[in-house]
Symmetry: C2
Subunit: 439 residues, 2 copies
């Protein structure tokens, strides 16, 4: 492993030479005319191919009970698929609903229900509250933030740490303020840091006193089975923890097969207390006569069992793990020791979290874009897209091919080094060459 | 065709004999131990079989433009499917979105958008209005009524006539009251009467002055292509009519393939002005990363063209028309001339509307239930399930086999005659036998 000297320790001459080197590397990068995309956590075609047996399924049109899956009905989803997900999520089939192709849609429907009808434990519907606030651990998933933001829900941030949200901050926020109604949690291999919520923090979330009787944990377990190493994280059983703490309706869990089978054509899952399931179905019955049961039976036949899901995920890991290793290798090669970047080495999930020098993330993303490397906009992992330190970049290496990941990440590392060099040089008052690239 | 004497013209002795006959017929019916279901407009297995080629589709995973349909994206739906529906709905692809498996879900999402965000022409979001009222032509579709009712929207009824809603009543309601925000319309082969909204009435709906600037026609064209005879109704082009009247955003149309391919696994469509499409997609983007494009491509390959849809509907007609004829035959046989029932002879759609003697619909449904014939609850086609005259029954003959429709409808006719006989006899003060069946 190459280790470089910290940028801050370079003499002015060394820094000038470093900048010239990086500028040269960047000019070559730009000249290469790349067109690579690291913006979103999309599965690659090779991963999607793993599920192409779906195209020949189902081989029958009746489920186990003899129900014709082609017709209306069955709002809660196919019993055999509920069983598979119940096993995977360590709960009972009665606490699981299987829906359409999007867990995000189930999250939105849940929040709409709270807004327009109120929850089981709500004193009133949220639309009639003066304020509704959500706790947003940062960095986090941009779509969670835009979803609540679109309804005018105020977002209060706490830091996401390697074992979960900063619980002292969370507990203090919920204790006295009844307008704090919810928290977003991606418990396993979180987006974007790869953090795994520990059993202890899950237990504190489940048990903590909250001023709002209907405070709800939106437990988006999107990456529950998406391991990248043998060190497989086991998600905390938030539903049981909440029930055991006397808050049976506090947590609602979500998952989907979007990153298991087909990203656009999978099945989504909601798990909660039986009372919450009844509440959700009651409102869903106004908007639907049932999910796409043919696609659900397709998935039942494809997986067979919960173990079938786990086996399938091992094949994803074989494809994904080298890409994550390539990200780490490229960043290490160029940046290790320079003191200008830190990044995660996740053991699962879809993202690498890259923190660059404060104030340079937007510059890195702009440089990369000019060189044909699409990165998620700087700040995307923060409410309203605003990273107060302008240092956070979410890298999504799943979609490009391995060689492209290597090429793109070497380019990103160059952009990080160049932007950092520019900043350090500017602080020292050094005159630096202004190539076209910095225009 | 048998024609009977009007019940009202029978002597007391004749009426007593009639009642004994009907009671005897009913006792035999009950003894037969039937288990038949005319409750919902579900396609039969034979109809679903018509689409089983879907199970082998799609044969590729790329759309015409080369997009991998297995992955995320494409919120507005596959371009080629938008084109097919644009042709079918006489509009342009830019005015069409293709979604998931449920047009009801698209209607609900639209109303939620109005409630929580407001529409393009809304002075404020509906959640902040003191009152929101919807015009509900009666009899109508129960799920329309329960959907708006679930949000506390007040339902104001007008009569549904053979050519559309009572327009004098509609125009008077919308002219001065800005809280009247919408109207439900099933324009073609309406649920349950089979009425077809005329071009003239569509034009009046499009042009009428409304106190609410965001008054919206929810144009649920669920049965647009569901003809039962050669006399094929052509739906009015409400979007063009509204635009031509200076109200481009007034109408939003919905349709689906739920009664074309698979009832639970079809595709749903929303058509509207381009501004409304942009508004809908903006809010949808908070809740979804895209529809099930594999299922959309499956449908593109299955239909091929708009003409493919029309050809497919002819095969449904072959199965359905004899069932509707059987309903008419059974009712005619037993009830024609008696002056105790009227029913529709729809040229399309899924329902027969049966009006029995005022005050006897609930009794008919109860009698049928006791004899093992499931009917939609009396009053279901009215807001809050309340038919003020207790005379309306919605018959849904699509699901049972033809022989079962014959058997069930002969039974229903007996129940209608018995309930009518009971009522007329009671009014005359005649003592009538109280068999077990009337307990």
């Amino acid at each position: 492993m190459t280790t470089h000297a910290p940028l801050a320790d370079l003499t002015d001459d060394e820094l000038t030479a470093f900048l010239q080197d990086q500028q040269g590397a960047y000019d070559r990068l730009r000249a290469a005319g790349l067109k690579l995309d690291l913006t979103r956590g999309k599965p690659s075609p090779e991963q999607l191919d793993l599920s192409d047996a779906l195209l020949e399924l189902p081989t029958t049109t009746k489920d186990r009970a003899g129900t014709d899956v082609r017709n209306y009905g069955g709002l809660e989803g196919l019993p055999e698929l509920r069983e598979i997900f119940a096993e995977l999520l360590s709960t009972s089939p009665a606490q699981v609903i299987v829906g359409g192709n999007s867990s995000l849609s189930m999250m939105q429907a849940t929040i709409v229900n709270f807004l327009l009808h109120g929850g089981i434990d709500s004193p009133r519907r949220w639309a009639d509250e003066e304020n509704v606030r959500f706790i947003c651990p940062i960095p986090g998933y941009d779509r969670h933030f835009s979803l609540v933001g679109s309804f005018g829900i105020e977002m209060v941030t706490v830091d996401m740490r390697p074992d979960g949200p900063d619980m002292a901050a969370v507990e203090s926020l919920v204790r006295d303020d009844p307008s704090v109604k919810g928290i977003w949690i991606v418990p396993t291999y979180s987006n974007p840091t790869g953090a795994v919520v520990s059993q202890e923090i899950a237990a504190r979330l489940a048990a903590m006193p909250t001023a709002a009787p209907d405070f709800t944990i939106f437990w988006d377990n999107a990456y529950a089975f998406h391991h990248l190493t043998d060190d497989e994280a086991k998600s905390a059983d938030i539903l049981s923890l909440a029930a055991a703490s006397g808050h049976p309706n506090r947590a609602i869990a979500f998952a989907s097969t979007s990153k298991i089978t087909y990203a656009g054509s999978g099945v989504a899952v909601l798990a909660a207390s039986e009372a919450t399931i009844a509440w959700y179905l009651k409102h869903l019955s106004m908007a639907s006569i049932g999910p796409d049961k043919v696609n659900q039976l397709r998935h039942v036949q494809f997986f067979g069992t919960a173990q079938g899901v786990r086996d399938h995920m091992a094949r994803h890991r074989d494809i994904l793990a080298p890409k994550f290793a390539a990200v780490d290798a490229a960043l290490t090669d160029e940046l290790a020791g320079r003191g200008i970047a830190e990044w995660s080495r996740p053991t699962g999930g879809y993202f690498v979290n890259l923190d660059v020098l404060d104030g340079t993330a937007s510059r890195v993303v702009a440089l990369a874009k000019e060189a044909g490397i699409g990165l998620t906009p700087a700040g995307a992992s923060f409410p309203h897209g605003h990273d107060p330190r302008d240092r956070n970049i979410r890298l999504a290496p799943s979609f490009p091919e391995l060689d492209e990941v290597r090429t793109a990440m070497a380019g990103v590392a160059t952009c990080v080094a160049l932007a950092a060099g520019e900043q350090v040089a500017a602080r020292r008052g050094l005159r630096v060459g202004t190539g076209q690239s910095t225009s």
